[in-house]
Amino acid sequence: MANDPIHQFQISKLIPLEVGGYDLSFTNASLFMVATVVVTSAFLYLTTSSRSLVPSRLQSVSEMSYEFVANMLRDAAGTAGMRFFPLVFSLFMFVLMANMLGMFPYFFTVTSQIIVTFALAVLVVGTVLVYGFYKHGFKFLKLFVPSGVPMAVLPMVVVIELISFLSRPISLSVRLFANMLAGHITLKVFAGFIVSLSSLGALGVAGAILPLIMTVAITGLEFLVSFLQAYVFAVLACMYLNDAVHPGH
């Protein structure tokens, strides 16, 4: 168990629950999703509750994350896109906090489950579709019809654009999932090398220093990837939401 790099991703039922033939058990994944939401909300609430004009350190962290996401959204989708701010901010904070919680030893990484990231990506693309059709009606379909294309190749171009659009939730979710999964497995494998090398005697202990250095370095890299992936997820969500606000002219 100690050296199995996949063991950390196993889902275990904490509270078995079955409703109408569906397995709705409360698992360790659910627990950490709840923890992510609670920690994020509590942090944002507690740090901003004093509302001092000159922010304390923690309050300025909250304000910085607000401004970071607000600028990102405004750059990508313009002022009209700011109506999606609550969605994008929640997504960013959820993914960031889930990634960061996953960095604690023995904690479960929610974003290493593809169904979680896929649900988040479908939420974004679903919002784009619903809002786009609600706001622009059938003109929204112009998104798939670039202007100035000869009639002869138009059907093919439309199909290609359609596939390109449909691939968005998949690439969005696979990217986050694969990064977290690969990172955690790498970390575990290198940490496992330390244990198995150091059991080989004095020479092994001396050799175990190398994977130890790697593990420390990869841990640092993983923190970076955690933040970077949350950022990339939010940026791409902004870009896709931009399509909903301004589909092709």
Partner: protein
């Protein structure tokens, strides 16, 4: 009566604009910082981004073709054609996210899709 609050609001708007101008003068420094900080780690992120864009488009194309085959009973033609179209969409995705092809809304020119 309305002139009082109006005036102070104008004043406020003017001061806000001045502040924004000042902040904008300061901002470029920070803006230039961001890409360079990104650039250090960007190689890995970029590779991940491009490959996932490419592969997901092929997967969606193949899936769509398989579904059409299943519904219309045209096996294997739907799969073959949509796999190829998915490949084209993957190339389009990659070129688009690499910034070689403009996003459809900004560059809807005739050179958009065929380059």
């Amino acid at each position: 009566m309305p002139s009082g609050p109006e005036k102070s609001r104008d004043d406020l708007a003017r001061r806000t604009q001045e502040l924004e101008a000042k902040l904008a003068a300061r901002n470029p420094v920070r803006k230039q910082d961001e890409p360079s900080a990104d650039g250090g780690t960007a190689g890995y992120g970029q590779a991940m981004k491009l490959s996932s864009e490419f592969i997901s488009a092929i997967a969606v194309g193949a899936g769509l073709g398989w579904l059409i085959d299943k519904v219309a009973g045209t096996s294997p033609w739907g799969l073959i054609i949509f796999l190829l179209l998915g490949f084209a969409a993957g190339v389009l995705n990659v070129l688009r996210s690499a910034g070689v092809v403009a996003q459809p809304k900004t560059g809807m020119g005739p050179d958009g899709p065929d380059r």
